[in-house]
Amino acid sequence: METIFFTIVAAVTVLSGIMVVTCRNPINSALSLILTFFCIATLYVTLDAPFMAAVQVLVYAGAIMVLIVFVIMLLNIRSEVGRRYTHAGIIGTVVGFLMLVLTFNFLNNSSLTGAKGLITTDVINKIGHTELIARSMFTDFLLPFEITSILLLVAIIGAVILSKKKI
C-alpha cells in the first residue's frame, strides 16, 4: 500500500517536473511547479515530517510561487515561438542524463553507514514534530537562526533598491 502510494506520488512529481521544463508558456511551467511542490509536501508527510510539509505548502507553494506568477503576469511574457536551434539544448540534455547515470551508479554501490540517532517515529508521535524542530533550532542552531535574520534584512534592502526607478 505504502509502495503504491509512493509510486503514484513520485510519478506525478516527475511528470510535473518535466512539464516545468518543457512547457512553452511560463504560466504553465509555474502551475506545474506548484503541483510538484504539493507532491513533495505529500512525500514529507510520509517521511514523518508534517511541520515541514506545512511550511513547504505555505512558503513555497504559497509565497514564492505567488511572487513568480505575479511577476510573469506583470511582465506579460508571451510563450516562446519559433525556438531557434541551439547546440545548448542537445548538450544540456546529454550532460543532464550523464549526471543522472552517475548518480544512479553512486546510489547503487552505496549503503547507509551513519550512526542512528534517537528520533524515531514513536518519539515524533509522542513529543510532536514542531516541538522537536523548535528544540533543535533554538538550542543547537541558534546562531545560524540569527544569521538568517541578517540574510533576510539584506534581501529586503536589495529588493527595495533594485526596484527603484533609476538604479
Binding site: 512529481t13 517536473g17 510520509t46 515541514m52 509565497a63 548518480t103 544512479f104
Partner: protein, 100 residues
C-alpha cells in the same frame, strides 16, 4: 517500509530535470523556477536522510534552505523586473552587456 534508495532516486531524477532546465531554457523566469526545483529535490534528500538516520538536524537545514530560497526569489525577481525595464525582454541571450 520504503527504502531510503527510492527517495534518493526520486530526488536525483528531480535534480537532473532541474539541471537540464537550467541548461536548455532561455527564459530567465523558467530558469529561476528550475533552480527552485533543484533546491526542492535537495530538501527531499535532507528529510529522507533525517528520517532514516533518526536525526533532526537535516530538517533544520531544510528550514535554512527555504529561507535562502525566499531571499533569492525576492532579489532575483527584482533583478528581472529591472532588466525588463531596460531591455523589454527577459531572454538570457539578451543579457550581453558584460560579454566581449
Amino acid at each position: 517500509m520504503l527504502s531510503l534508495h527510492s527517495y534518493l532516486i526520486l530526488s536525483a531524477i528531480l535534480f537532473s530535470i532541474g539541471a537540464i532546465g537550467v541548461l536548455i531554457r532561455r527564459n530567465a523566469i523558467v530558469i529561476f523556477m528550475c533552480v527552485e526545483l533543484m533546491l526542492n529535490s535537495v530538501n527531499l534528500t535532507f528529510i529522507a536522510f533525517s528520517k532514516y538516520l533518526g536525526n533532526m538536524d537535516g530538517q533544520i537545514f531544510v528550514f535554512f534552505v527555504m529561507t535562502v530560497a525566499a531571499a533569492e526569489a525576492a532579489v532575483g525577481l527584482a533583478l528581472m523586473i529591472a532588466f525588463y525595464k531596460n531591455r523589454e525582454s527577459i531572454d538570457v541571450e539578451d543579457l550581453n552587456l558584460m560579454k566581449w
